[in-house]
Subunit: 393 residues, 2 copies
């Protein structure tokens, strides 16, 4: 291995040089936000209004703009993507001891949100083509392990209700959501989309996160746009939207001065000052998306000439936000992953592998799971490379 990385013609060196030729010399982060629109102006205006907290015009405007951009009928802004997913799961009917199908190839928040409901994550496999839930494996797996009783999907082994499924649009790439939605419907499982990474990504022209009963967005600092910390619940269902607003704002009933709360609820409302940042960021999103595509093309030109490694590309019929540019090693070259990570990071180019598979983490190691062959293989072959757009303004 030492020989390989010291060899300038080795795969790690080729990858490092390709990255360097696109993003230039120096310390380069994986993803940095850019603030060259109305961010300052809106933050100042927000301070001057004194409405920096849970009430204020920016929260309403941000929600309205999210609806316009995504085509979702309703959007409810919250403190982060994890809380958005938590509430989306509650509102999709997930209860204590239910099971929720999630990909093992995802950020830990997907599993944690299930845990907050007292429910059990049940891990399923992904597709090499989308990096998200594989509908073929899903269909086959459900027909083997589940049965329908009284209109519910029951895990024959555990006896628990499989209440919901949470496809995640990995690194901004849309899963084959139509097929998954049909399978979920056929099996009486509610669909909640983890669209934390896919603001600006579309499947057949329809925005990700708007296919299921509810969807969850994230605006963490590393996401395609940021509110500092933040997230949003998307839904086309008015009743669910009303409930989402209620349960994220301590379930307080409207009154001029009384404090009456009618259920156990959460303090998850996005503060106005974070929404002010979000409003400016959303205005800039079309430009960010154009830059992300441009960066993809620049990388594409370089990686086209390198064998045994491929730059992940949006599938036909989908439009990726290219949030994180992704390389996938050929199976025969998976052993190069650690060397590539080491050489690139040591050279000042921040790269990272996929998350540790969720079913391997201590808190989730005993949860039910399907065969996870593709997830295990991809985990050894994926890495994300510097994906900021600030170099290409």
């Amino acid at each position: 291995m030492i020989e390989l990385t010291s060899n300038k013609c080795s795969l790690p060196h080729k990858v490092k040089d390709a990255i360097k030729s696109v993003v230039g010399q120096g310390q380069v982060n994986l993803h940095e936000p850019r603030f060259d629109g109305n961010e300052k102006a809106y933050l100042m205006e927000c301070l001057e209004s004194t409405f920096v907290s849970s009430v204020g015009k920016y929260v309403d405007e941000f929600e309205k703009s999210l609806c316009e951009f995504t085509g979702s009928k309703y959007a409810i802004a919250v403190v982060n993507g994890t809380s958005a997913l938590h509430i989306a799961l509650i509102l999709s009917g997930v209860e204590e001891n239910d099971e929720v199908l999630i990909p093992s190839l995802s950020f830990v928040a997907t599993a944690n949100a299930v845990s907050y409901c007292g429910a059990v994550p049940h891990f399923i496999d992904v597709d090499e083509e989308t990096l998200g839930i594989s509908n073929n494996s899903l269909e086959q797996y459900l027909s083997e392990v589940s049965e329908q009783i009284d209109g519910k999907c029951i895990n024959k082994k555990t006896g628990r209700v499989i209440r919901a499924i949470v496809p995640m649009h990995t690194f901004g790439n849309s899963v084959a959501i139509e097929g998954i939605l049909k399978t979920a419907n056929d099996h009486k499982i509610n669909l909640v989309e983890d669209a934390a990474e896919s603001l600006g990504s579309f499947y057949k022209g329809v925005h990700t996160g708007t296919f299921g009963l509810l969807g969850a967005l994230s605006f963490n600092g590393n996401k395609i746009i940021t509110t500092g910390g933040g997230g949003a619940i998307l839904t086309n269902n008015k009743t669910l939207a009303t409930k989402a607003k209620h349960i994220t704002t301590t379930a307080k009933l409207k009154h001029q001065w009384n404090f009456k709360h009618d259920q156990v609820a959460y303090n998850y409302r996005m503060p106005n000052i974070n929404a002010a940042l979000g409003c400016a960021q959303l205005e800039d999103l079309p430009s960010i998306l154009r830059n992300k595509k441009l960066l993809f093309k620049k990388y594409k030109d370089k990686f086209n000439t390198i064998e045994n490694i491929n730059l992940f590309q949006e599938n036909e019929g989908t439009s990726s936000n290219y949030w994180l540019q992704t390389l996938v090693l050929d199976k025969s070259h998976a052993h190069n992953l650690d060397d590539i990570l080491k050489l690139t990071n040591d050279s000042g180019y921040m790269t990272r592998p996929a998350w540790n598979l969720l079913h391997t983490l201590q808190p989730y190691k005993d949860c039910p799971r399907a065969s996870l062959t593709v997830s295990k293989s991809l985990k050894k072959r994926i890495l994300n490379i510097p994906s900021s757009t600030y170099n290409f303004k």
Copy 2:
């Protein structure tokens, strides 16, 4: 009642006139933040650094400044006061089906945080002198209803462990924390302080929130200082502080690129942009506290001359932040509360009663409780009046 409020010499009119004479004509809110320090500068600096999210210097600085101000050894900044209390309860050992003693006279977050742990709120009474937990009633009640088995406090009626007690420093007024701490220790109950309202309040020169195993602060928009939305966990225990940081940041183990998480955890970290606001606000806190005391004195001069109603005053040996100025009606005049609320609010002076008692709320109506005589009486007699300091710069 109609005659009473139409009479210019009625108690509601006297209260309204007293408020007006202090805060002036016009629409006056209950509490507004003021931003006349480094708020703009720090927000701009934060934007320019691009570190607006979960990593950045302001979070560290804010935590350090909180430690300096409160004298707490450790402070962990989080997204809001509710999440601070949630984590403090988990770290104090609260588990599913435990009971947690809390005042019925509190904001709903105190009870909700208990629920998030799967535990059961157990309501206890407050003192007229402090508006917080009454140590006398507490001691007597515990000797009646609990017994110690294997070093645990057991509720003899329900058989559940009474794991923790959460005194809340109401409207910024310190409870008689020394006595409560002794009672808690005697009964093997962990003390967690809900200091959401009492940043800047001291008991015998020691800051509230630092007596218990852990304490929770809030920096919501209506609090004495604000970060938009935010909170902090205080503790003097290094192990608990380390755990608090870990569990509020998805329990990720440190590694240059790997994503390994070793427990079910939370995404509760305060974003850097909110902490930037907090740093500026903390610098201004001494001045805010001086202004709050000045406002108290101005109100005191006016309400001294009005019979049957009293302005709540800090107890000897304590220093109140006077976050919310509080009036308490004599028992004989409790029937005036609604008229006072109506007249003041209709006249543009925002006033509000105490929260609906927690044991009366739908989700908590079947929870165990002590006799709540004082809480019930105070609920009918308390109101908060405009408490901003911006008029007195």
